[in-house]
Amino acid sequence: MESSIAPRLQLTGITKRFPGVLANDNVSFSVRPGEIHALLGENGAGKSTLVKMIYGIMQPDAGEIRWNGQPLSVSNPKAARKLGIGMVFQHFSLFEAMTVLENIALGMDAKIHARDLEARIREVMEQYGLKLDPHRTVSTLSVGERQRIEIVRALLLNPKLLIMDEPTSVLTPQEVEQLFVVLRQLAAEGCSILYISHKLHEIKALCDTATILRGGKLVDTCDPKVETSRSMAEKMIGAGLKEITKPAGRSLGQEKLVVNRLSIPGAGPFGIALKDINFTVRGGEIFGIAGVAGNGQNALLLALSGEVLSGDAEAISIDGAPVGQLQAKSRRLKGLASVPEERNGHAAVPEFSLADNTILTARDRLGMVSAGLIKAGAAKTYAGEVITAFAVKALGPGATAGSLSGGNLQKYIMGREILQKPAVLVVSQPTWGVDAGAAAAIHQAIVDLAAAGSAVVVISQDLDELLSLCDTLAVINEGRLSRPMQVAGADIEEIGLLMGGIHGEAPTTPTAELELAHAH
């Protein structure tokens, strides 16, 4: 048969239109058997739409998909799996209250007895070195373990093509390495892999070919081993990348935020308790907190913002004043602003207008309320200022927060806090799900705020982001914070180990560490 010569997957002129958007515009590329093929692009470039059509979740409006040389029409994911197309989603399609085994059984189309299925699961795990207990309930598993369920589920179907949608966004560097070993082994066995990502160094390390999408159009198909990260990034974004410009020769000011022996019990049975957290952030300093999702980042943000009070007033101080037992509102008056991870519903009310959303955090600092009445004009003016200063794409202060794209709403929320000129800004996941253009703008705004003398804490799972942005970095793992280290001399290996929960040494007192660090 010719199937050994024909590409495993061939897309010709794929076009998909949504109301008001051309998600894919005449996209063509092909994947060979055993090839690891990267699909690279910003958020909204059309990667997800494209693979959803391959996997049968959506149908293309025009164009042809060929599978081993034969025209392919998959009306649903079941048909796709039958052909040997597997997919690991970015947001896991798992059932929290069910066991690993039940979750995998749900992904199997053929009827198979639970006992036989378990035997096959163990076989696949053995073969690829994946560790997982089939009888654990998913809600008790880490993100990396959850991803392994999805991978095992896909591998049980002996896929000929495995689609991976942003698989590493939640993994530690070590887990990423393990994943790559599995993927390389699969490719060596002849399975093609379509690897969606925007992490360029991963694509360079893993992939044979990269197809770059921008605004729904195919920009280039290239060899990532020949290209530089910068050249691929420029193709992806479509303009020369703007580097973050940090003013040279900054000197750090005095201590703005001091966290001293902060401990908070975990909320609920799965809540992470904060254990003896210590760090100090000076004026002008950007302090990064790295870590894998679900290690207490959320609890730390809530404790710093004042949504959860600490038992000890001295545990958190702003400009020397203890605030550990002050509510969020009082902390805001002391100069602390915070941006939580969840944009819709936590940082902003989706149904409210942008102007009304400014009142939520700026009412006291900017005097938007007098005698219990809202000054609508002041809110509107301020919202307008934020929109202009941060180039937010919105219809105006009257637009609802929910009508903005993720990146634009994030820019708006960051702007709303930054223009209040806080002494201390705490942000969590500032560029989560935000396109590269908006991310660059947000990063620059953070740097500028620090340059103006504020202390900034950035909590992020994106290590690259922290390394490029921060002056100092600490890693949170299971509610404990590692000793802070200077980013300039940071050892990626060590950070990775800390993220994975391996502590090299006992934490020493933060003040002594910082003095050491600042002495450089």
Partner: protein, 311 residues
């Protein structure tokens, strides 16, 4: 002794309709749909079962008629909440109002009629024996309800279809992305819930009374809803809960009739207290079990939420 036997037989009898309706609602809620129209579906089933038995002379056809009518009423609810994505709470309440009115309307021409009864399942000697009738003296519907407890429990826990149904109620978007028909599964579950509620209603008009009276289910549909929560969405506990609620309802009936003289304290407690107890106990149990996490609570995560896939 006679008193005890009479009490047990009465309690089993009044537990059966809420057990049937509760089992149906359990399956509905496990699929992620909250149907508050149980009372309405029971009334529709009560009149349909009664009418079918009067017209055919066969109580078995009456029960089938009740199941079909309940399933049809539930499918109407399903059309609104599943196809048109209307609010489940509001639509369920509307179904109760609709079912009450419809059953009263149809029932007008059946007032005063009597229906033929089920024969005994077991040999008449057993069913009439003063002691053994505690085990063998019930209507076939009672034994059907008991079998359904095990059938529903087994279906949800051990069958692939049951696993899919739980998956749809736990995370509808994921189930959809794997390729299961969320709407299809929910329609089936809602129809099953309606059929069970219909049979539960027919038990009133065909076994307990047996005659037609307006609103004869007297709020037991609401107790069935409370029972599902009380049981923590588990079929086995539903049986225990149904008997417990049955005892409370029996206390209420006796208090109304002044028949609680055997308990010296009970004569000072008004019947309304016993009527309120099932709801009060449900609140207490829910409070206790929700101190654990949601997964331990066994509650379907998508309960009452409309299914809105991205495309």
């Amino acid at each position: 002794m006679d008193f005890l036997i009479a009490a047990i037989i009465t309690i089993v009898g009044i537990s059966t309709p809420i057990l049937l309706a509760g089992l149906g609602e359990l399956v509905v809620e496990k699929s992620g749909v909250l149907n508050l129209g149980v009372e309405g579906m029971m009334l529709v089933g009560a009149i349909a079962g009664f009418a079918a038995t009067v017209l055919t002379g066969n109580p078995w056809l009456g029960v089938i008629g009740a199941a079909v009518a309940g399933a049809l009423a539930a499918s109407l609810f399903g059309f609104f909440v599943l196809t048109l994505n209307s609010n489940q709470v509001a639509t369920g309440l509307a179904l109760t109002i609709f079912g009450t009115g419809l059953s009263s309307l149809i029932g007008l021409s059946f007032v005063g009629r009597i229906v033929p009864q089920f024969g005994s399942v077991f040999p008449p000697e057993l069913a009439r024996d003063p002691l053994l009738k505690v085990l063998f003296g019930y209507s076939p519907v009672v034994y059907f309800a008991l079998i359904m407890v095990f059938a529903v429990g087994w279906f949800l826990k051990s069958t692939r279809a049951g696993l899919i149904l739980r998956a749809v109620g736990e995370n509808d978007l994921s189930a959809h992305s794997i390729g299961y028909s969320v709407i299809g599964v929910r329609y089936a579950a809602v129809a099953f819930g309606g059929a069970m509620a219909g049979i539960g209603g027919a038990y009133f008009s065909m076994v307990i009374t047996p005659m037609w009276a307006e609103r004869m289910t007297a709020g037991r549909g609401w107790i069935a809803l409370a029972l599902v929560l009380f049981a923590g969405w588990r079929a086995g506990r539903l049986l225990v809960g149904a008997i417990f609620f049955g005892v409370l309802m029996w206390m209420e009936l006796n208090a109304k009739a002044g028949g609680l003289s055997f308990l010296s304290f009970a004569q000072y407690i008004p019947s309304q207290f016993w009527a309120a107890m099932p709801y009060l106990m449900t609140v207490v149990v829910l409070t206790l079990i929700s101190m654990r996490d949601r997964v331990g609570l066994n509650a379907p995560a998508c309960l009452g939420k409309p299914f809105l896939p991205a495309t």
